[in-house]
Structures are given as structure tokens and as C-alpha cells.
Symmetry: C2
Subunit: 404 residues, 2 copies
């Protein structure tokens, strides 16, 4: 098997993790030949002195080096990532990338480029860090039995909710702590509003069911407007509120997907996914539920996932997107009823939302809520109502209905 000479793009948290992991992996038969960075002079500490001779700030240095036979791209900038990854693929150079935004937005084109130019693009690190979700969906659950993939895909929001539920912290304090500890960005919107989970879910869905859904067509709802009332309500019912992403086959012909806060009871595997961890449940006919749990982000966990992809490139592995060619692929639909809890201040809110049925309603001087059945398509249509101040919506999954 060939030796891999890596042109690495990005030397931040994950990039430095890759540098460390590769140094320890003597059987990888891979070495980093050049590292493209934005700022050559940035102080990276004595630990990375040995990397200095590899650094360049010219991406062309990587593409002009005939020895480089693999690009590993771990930068944050999705547009730059797109330029680099497509350029590499068009030159027939395989790529390992961790950029979920770029991949989720351009997946159809990236698949075309792989087919046209013959080079592979692997990105297991893009979804749930060290948990091998993509590879298992592609290779192991590559059959008709798969029914559902559901999980906690974002560590930052989960960390915050864990602090709230397990440590009785105030939401604001928990958010600040997450930022201080580096579990959330200083602008945490991407994590707590569900975008990060969404992009991962788009990628997962392609490998789970063979269907690409555009990010803008999927309902997402974040946790930023959660209130003490919601938290108290959940506690009384002995459930937690988690930010859950899911893709679910609702029949042989159709599936739905969304990212929403959800009441999770103790009997569910994801109930015990706490702190910054990720957990994914893969449900299928026959095997019922498989649960995979691990570190979803961070320097070394992500780097170890990148190393798995690097090793796979070495033996010419590629995603075959086999499910794209399945007969009777299910179609994406939002024509599905959810049972939801909607908390609000303005009393006209329930009238603005076309509930099929309201099963509970509560009002007090401080807060009101209703529980009812509503179409996912209506949630999308009435986005503005849901986005209003003092409105918060939480999914009540099926099991919860059964127990009512």
C-alpha cells in the first residue's frame, strides 16, 4: 500500500490534534508534508516547534507539490473549505474533511465530483467527532432494515442543558460556563439554535437513506428561549429537555427529519448522554436499537476520527453512497403530525398555530402552555409565530403519548 504524504489545511485545535495523533500512529504510514495556515507568525507554543518547517500560508504550495497525495482540510471557513476540497477533487487528489457546513450544503456536487474525477472525499469527523456514525450507516447498516437515526449531535447545547438539569444551574450561567470552558463559541448561535445539529443530520440522512435534503428545507428550533417554567415543568414530569436531531422513516415511502428540543424520559438511551458528549441511536427492523456514544468534538477525538479516514484512504476506501441507488427510496415529507408543548405569554398564540387537536391547556398570570398535535409543515409555515419572544416549543415523542 502507498505511503500517504499529507497536505494539511488548517492548524487550529483539530489541526494540531491531527499533528499529534499522526506522530503516534507508526502504522499509519502517513506523514504530514505541508500545513497551510492563515498566519505564519502566530505563536503555537514550543509543543509545535517541530511543525514550523512544514508551515506555509500559500495553498498553492500544497497543490504544486507532486508528492502530496492526500489533502486533509480542517478549517472553519466553509467557503474556503469548498474551494480547497473541490480543487483537490478536480485534480484527482483524495480529501479528508471535517467541515460539516460545507459538506451539508454541497453534498450532491461533491458526490458528482468524486464520480467524475475518481478521487474520494471522506468526512466521518464531520458528524459526531469520534463516533463512527457515517461509516457504519454507509457500510454496516446498508440495508432496508434501517428505520431511524436519532441523537444528540451537538456537544455545546447538550453541555448547557446538562448543567441546567443535572446541576440546577440557570440557563444563562450554564451558557457562560460553556463559553468559558471552550465548549461553546463566543457566538453560540450556531450550536444552540440547532444549525450544527442540522448540518450533521443532513449528512447522516444521505448515508442513512440515500436522500439529500437541503438544509433550508428542514425545521430546526434551538434552545435559546428555554425558560425556568419549561425546566420546572420537565422536572415535575421527571424528564429532561435535550436538543435532538432525528431522521425517521414514517412508512416505506416517506421519512421526516427535524431538529428540536425534546422531552426525553429515563427509559431512553439518550437520557444519559450528558455534558459535552454525543449519542446516536440507530433503530432498525430486527436489531431494534443500537446506541453509539462518545466524544463528539474536541481536538484529539476529532483528530482520531480524521486518522480513521486517512487510514481508509490509504486502502482506497470510498463512500459508495449505495443507498442512492436503492429501489423505492423514501421521500422527504413534512406532512407528519407531531405532538408538541408550546409555552407562550400572548394568549392569541394557540390561535395562530393550526393545531389538529389540543389535548391540554394551562394558563396562569405568568405563563401559559398548550399541548397538542400539529403538522410539521405548519411549524415551518408559522416560523415567525414560533420565533416570537416568550414562545417556546418542545417535541413530545411518541413514547410520551403512549404513557399519557
Amino acid at each position: 500500500m502507498k505511503k500517504l504524504n499529507i497536505g494539511q489545511v488548517g492548524f487550529g485545535t483539530v489541526g494540531q490534534g491531527i499533528y499529534k495523533v499522526i506522530a503516534n500512529a507508526k502504522n499509519a504510514h502517513a506523514s504530514i508534508r505541508k500545513i497551510c495556515v492563515a498566519h505564519l507568525d502566530k505563536d503555537r507554543g514550543a509543543e509545535f516547534d517541530s511543525a514550523k518547517p512544514l508551515l506555509t500560508d500559500r495553498i498553492d504550495d500544497l497543490f504544486e507539490d507532486p508528492e502530496i497525495n492526500l489533502i486533509v482540510e480542517v478549517i472553519d471557513d466553509a467557503e474556503a473549505s469548498y474551494e480547497i476540497v473541490t480543487r483537490a477533487l478536480k485534480k484527482g487528489i483524495p480529501v479528508v474533511s471535517g467541515n460539516k457546513i460545507m459538506i451539508a450544503n454541497h453534498l450532491p456536487e461533491l458526490i458528482e465530483l468524486q464520480n467524475k474525477y475518481g478521487a474520494a472525499l471522506l468526512y466521518d469527523a464531520s458528524s459526531c467527532g469520534s463516533i463512527p456514525v457515517i461509516r457504519n450507516l454507509e457500510e454496516y447498516y446498508d440495508n432496508d432494515l434501517l428505520l431511524e437515526v436519532k441523537g444528540i449531535l451537538n456537544g455545546s447545547s447538550n453541555y448547557i442543558l446538562s448543567r441546567v438539569f443535572d446541576h440546577n444551574e440557570d440557563y444563562g450561567d450554564a451558557l457562560q460556563r460553556a463559553i468559558d470552558l471552550g465548549f461553546a463559541e463566543s457566538d453560540p448561535t450556531f450550536d444552540i439554535e440547532g444549525f450544527d445539529s442540522l448540518f450533521k443530520l443532513i449528512i447522516i440522512t444521505k448515508h442513512a437513506l440515500g436522500v439529500y435534503v437541503r438544509p433550508e428545507d428542514v425545521f430546526i428550533y434551538g434552545i435559546s428561549k428555554i425558560s425556568n417554567f419549561d425546566i420546572k415543568w420537565a422536572r415535575e414530569k421527571r424528564v429532561k429537555i435535550k436538543l435532538v436531531a432525528q431522521v425517521v422513516k414514517i412508512s416505506d415511502k416517506a421519512f421526516t427529519m427535524f431538529v428540536m428540543p425534546e422531552f426525553v424520559d429515563k427509559s431512553k438511551y439518550i437520557y444519559s448522554v450528558d455534558d459535552e458528549y454525543n449519542g446516536v441511536v440507530i433503530r432498525g427492523e430486527g436489531y431494534d436499537r443500537q446506541f453509539m456514544f462518545g466524544k463528539g468534538a474536541g481536538s484529539l477525538p476529532t483528530a482520531s476520527s480524521i486518522l480513521s479516514d486517512i487510514m481508509a484512504i490509504r486502502r482506497d476506501y470510498r463512500y459508495e453512497y449505495k443507498k442512492m441507488h436503492y429501489i423505492d427510496r423514501p421521500e422527504y415529507t413534512t406532512d407528519v403530525s407531531l405532538k408538541v408543548y408550546v409555552r407562550f405569554k400572548e394568549t392569541r398564540i394557540p390561535e395562530l398555530l393550526p393545531f389538529e387537536k389540543i389535548t391540554e391547556s394551562y394558563s396562569s398570570e405568568q405563563e401559559n402552555y398548550v399541548i397538542g398535535h400539529i403538522k410539521l409543515s405548519e411549524l415551518i409555515k408559522h416560523r415567525q409565530t414560533l420565533d416570537a419572544k416568550d414562545v417556546f416549543i418542545i417535541n413530545i415523542p411518541q413514547f410520551f403519548i403512549d404513557r399519557d
Copy 2:
């Protein structure tokens, strides 16, 4: 890709599961062409009437059929399994098998046959049913980072211990319930004495570290002699007793492995693996701990795993046993100190066991125990002492030492 015409051997619980699963997997492009059974006339119920024309009691019917291009072997008899699997491989026909005893005992030869005759043998179902342990160790954790694989690999013994710890049942009652429910065989020795876990561990170790260890060289200790005293002791310490199989790198050069009852505290992932479930923790540098959890046995879970292997055969996948060719493969050693709890009646027992250090000892009119450090090699040497009536040994893993 080719269409698979399966010659199936065995039509018991798992075999019938495969029949059902294949019927539902329209994208498998696989069909069962013949099923070899021991007793043609056995009543299998109306559900399997459609299978009747496929049945034969002559194994030669499968091998003489030129259309059959895959053997799926799911019989209990390890010797017959060996005959069938080797015969198929020698004819260049790929095989999917779930027979852990046969595979664990003959793995080196089975690898040789695959190399010599070019046909693949896949057996993910042999270890932890529906949990894709083998495939992930072979493909995803195929690097130098892997440090440890540890888990609950046997559902029957775990079911019994769960009844004891979570439902306060007596061990004998729990065992009887397991037999009644079909979670344990009427002769449960294979499960509760650790043999089932051992064979799975042998297979896992080959794919985890590239090294084959003969089953007879590994220390196993079952749960059949657990007493109410042990259970009470564990409860007081707020830990559970689980039957744990593990392979652990203790340095760059060496690893150890064994199957033993172990005290498991709440902070460990396997603490919450209850009832008949299996759970495996894969630990490595960088990613720390990955946890995989699911149904380890049963008709449909095992059949779904077999289906994954069938689909893999269709695209010419094979285990490459890449780690066999690693430089600096670690060597198996039993020269490693364990901290153990030994409960006994006869007071001379501790003298018979060459402890390096005894850290606690307790005696009463009813029971005595010591906690101390002892070499694994000494446990093997003093098997007879450990096998005596009224002696029981439980591993106290490192974390427990740290907390003492």
C-alpha cells in the same frame, strides 16, 4: 454487482430470523436458494411454509448447486460448522458464519484458507450479535490508538446478574428465570462460566490488536459461585458485579486479556448495560472511550448482523486482518498484577494464593474475604484453588484502586 444465491445451513432461531430478514430486504439482491437442516420433517409452523421447498438434509445439495455463491452457516455444532466452512472456502465460495466457538478455535487456519483460496469469511454476528464490533475494530479503529476493548459480551449471564442486582432476586431464581425465558440454555455452563465471552474475546482480540491467542491460554472465571455475601458486599459499596471480558494494552509491547466477574461502579458505561443486552467500550488515545450498546443475541438481532455481512460479501468486502502486519505488535502476557477480592470459607485459602500484597482481610463465622494484588499468571496456576467450593474471585479494576 452480482446477485447472491444463498445456501443456508441451519434453520433454528437465527436461521429463521435470516429467512424473515432477507424477505424484507429488497435491496439486498440476495435470495435463499437452499436450506440444509438436520430434520426435514420437523414442524416449523405455518410461518415458514414458504421455506419448505428450499429445505434439504443433504449438505452436498448446497455444494453441488452451481448457482449457490454464498454459504450462510448458522448451526450450533462447532465441528460440523468447521467442516462446512472450510469446505466452502476451499471451493472458493464465500461464507458468513455466526459460530464463535468454531471461529475462535480455528482462526489462524481460517485466515490461511481465505488467503489461499481467495474466498472471504465474515462473522460479525459471532461477537455481540447486532453490535458491529468486529467490523469497526477492523475498519474504523484500524490504527495505533487502540488501547482497550472491554465489555459485557454475554447476554445470559448479564440477564441473571441484572435480576440479582436490579430486582433483588436470588441467583438461583434468576438463573431459572433466564432458562425459562430462553435467555440461557438448559445447560447454562457455556454462558455463565465465561466460555461464550471468551470465544468472542478471542475473535475481538484478533481484530483489535492483530494477535491470535488460543482460548485455552486465557483465564476465565464464571459467575456460578457468586453468593449472597458477595452481592451484599457489592451493594454496600454501591457497585454491581458484572461478567466482564477485556483485552487491554498494558504497554507498547504487551497486552493482557481475561474474562472475570468485576465490580463495576456507576461512573462506568457498562454499569447501565442491563438485562440481556451487550455493551462494549473501545478505548483509545485521542478518542478516549467509545461505547456501543445493543442486543447481543436473539433471532432477529443476529439475523440483521448476518444481513450486514451478506451485503458486504456482495460488494466483495473481506477482513484484511491489517493489524497482523503491524510493526511492533504487542505480545500477550499474563505477567500483570490484578487487584482482586477473594471470598472463601477455608482459612488456608489466602496462603494457597501467592498474593503480592494483601490490603484488606475480613473474617467472620460465616465468610471470609481478602482483597489483594496477585499476578494473573498465578490465578491461572492456582486454578484448582479458585475452583474449590465456597471460593469466589472478583476483579477490582484500576478505577476502584484509585478511589480506595
